[in-house]
Amino acid sequence: MDALIEKLKGQIIEQLNLAEVKPEEINPDSPLFGEGLGLDSIDALELIVLLEKHYGIKIQDPKDGKTIFQSLRTMAEYIKSQGKS
């Protein structure tokens, strides 16, 4: 799980152009949206693209993102649960 979380950090920074964020600054349990990284709804859509591009997971309803993208850990757990890590 930790390896997957580390990998996700790099992928998120690249996909979302978080140029001023270092991987070690992202806490796996902090909320991804609102506070913290300051992500918005376009970033949520980009995370959906990330899941499809790197993990072959397709999400049809953007509302599903709300639970999956709560934190880095929930995102990693979701990828694991899909058997795609």
Binding site: D40, S41, I42, L45, V49, P62
Partner: protein, 397 residues
């Protein structure tokens, strides 16, 4: 001080008809133009519905009477709607008065350019297509098609574009720069648009349901609509007839998010309030609102909240006509300006199709059947990506 500005001619082509009388018939019969994709070639052909104009490019070229191979769908429909508006108004552009054309578009010639995009890197065979790609091209074509035009410009502010074209035209008359202006917008469907809106996950796979609690998104449409607006001096000079008066307009920025409206509809509230202030009217003077009402969860909630912010517990009758035409992007505001004038002229409110359950948070209920009622003043809203919010006010002439 400044003279009044009137709408004196209407022109429109959309999924519900190739001209204004056809569109009016569909509206008054509650007949939507949205259905299975028949004309556009796209990977989403069987996945999404669309409000397509029911004519092929070859048929459009015949209607326009121009077989120039570089012309595209955007120009054809713009020329047809603009010409209809000019003929409907009865203006003569050769009479020595100053005529302007202010159009608007977002995707411009994309529907054609995308077909040749890959080839263009390989050879120069379709190079002429690039000449017609730019946003300004269809505006120039309209001006040539109408003839004797003194001023031409093109606006591109996403889905409120045509409202801003109407507003600018009105000001240019009021400030004495022009005597009359053909104003409106155009957007033909393209693969580019479909892919983009699908990327944003705001397309409904079924018919869109504006202001319904269970709405899932919008249906894309295509169309062009233009109105001729004239200063009262020019109108009196030629003893022409006014169809409606343009009595208020405003544009603001929501300054919140690139594609989403602020939860409380801040920019929309400002636009409606400022349009009212300019007209000198009170909220209670509004008889009907033609809403932006795209059917996306975000827009309809935000617009509902703005409506409540301005009108309190006296919200006028309202509907969104997007379930007839689909969301026609840059053309939406001019299509809805034509629909608003038709409402005023015929004392009819056209229904908000596909509505079942009010949005829990606001409880607003649109008109869901054709309503016959005297209408004196109509508010029409149009909001676009980039936070652009516009409101227009039309009064019975």
């Amino acid at each position: 001080m400044s003279q009044k500005v009137y709408i004196t001619g209407l022109g429109m082509i959309s999924a519900i008809g190739n001209n204004v009388p056809e569109c009016f018939l569909s509206l008054s019969q509650s007949k939507t133009g949205i259905g299975k994709i028949q004309y556009l070639t796209t990977r989403y052909k069987d996945e999404f519905l669309a409000g397509e104009i029911k004519l092929s490019n070859a048929e459009l070229a015949d209607l326009v009477g121009d077989q120039n191979p570089a012309l595209n769908r955007n120009s054809y429909i713009a020329m047809l709607a603009a010409k209809e508006a000019v003929l409907n108004s009865g203006i003569d552009t050769k009479d020595g008065l100053r005529t302007g054309v202010i159009s608007s578009t977002t995707v411009a010639g994309m529907s054609k350019t995308e077909l040749y995009y890959k080839d263009l890197f390989k050879n120069d065979e379709h190079l002429d297509v690039l000449d017609t790609h730019d946003c300004g091209d269809s505006t120039e074509r309209i001006a040539d098609y109408i003839g004797n035009v003194d001023y031409v410009t093109t606006i591109s502010t996403a889905c409120s574009s045509a409202a801003n074209a109407i507003m600018l035209g009105c000001r240019m008359i009021k400030h004495g720069h022009l005597d009359r202006v053909v104003v409106g917008g155009v957007d033909a469907l393209s693969k580019f648009t479909f892919n983009g809106f699908n990327t944003l996950m705001i397309l409904d796979r079924e018919w869109c349901r504006p202001f319904d609690e269970n709405r899932k998104g919008l249906n894309l449409g295509e169309g062009a609509a233009f109105v001729v607006i004239e200063g009262e001096n020019a109108l009196n000079h030629r003893k022409g007839k006014a169809l409606a008066e343009l009595i208020g307009y405003a544009n603001t920025n929501d300054a919140y998010h690139l594609t989403a409206s602020s939860p409380e509809g801040f920019g929309a509230t400002l636009a409606i309030q400022q349009a009212l202030a300019l007209s000198g009217l009170k909220p209670t003077d509004i008889d009907y609102i033609n809403m932006h009402g795209t059917g996306t969860p975000n827009n309809d909630l935000s617009e509902s909240k703005a409506t409540v912010a301005v009108f309190g517990n006296q919200v006028p009758k309202f509907s969104s006509t997007k379930a007839f035409t689909g969301h026609t992007l840059a053309a939406a505001a001019s299509i809805e300006a034509v629909i608003s004038v038709l409402s005023l002229q015929n004392s009819m409110i056209f229904p908000n199709l596909n509505f079942n359950t009010p949005i829990a948070e606001t409880g607003l209920i649109p008109e869901t059947t054709l309503v016959h009622t005297p209408l004196n003043v109509i508010l029409s809203n149009s909001f676009g990506f980039g936070g652009n919010c516009s409101s227009l006010l039309f009064k019975k002439a």
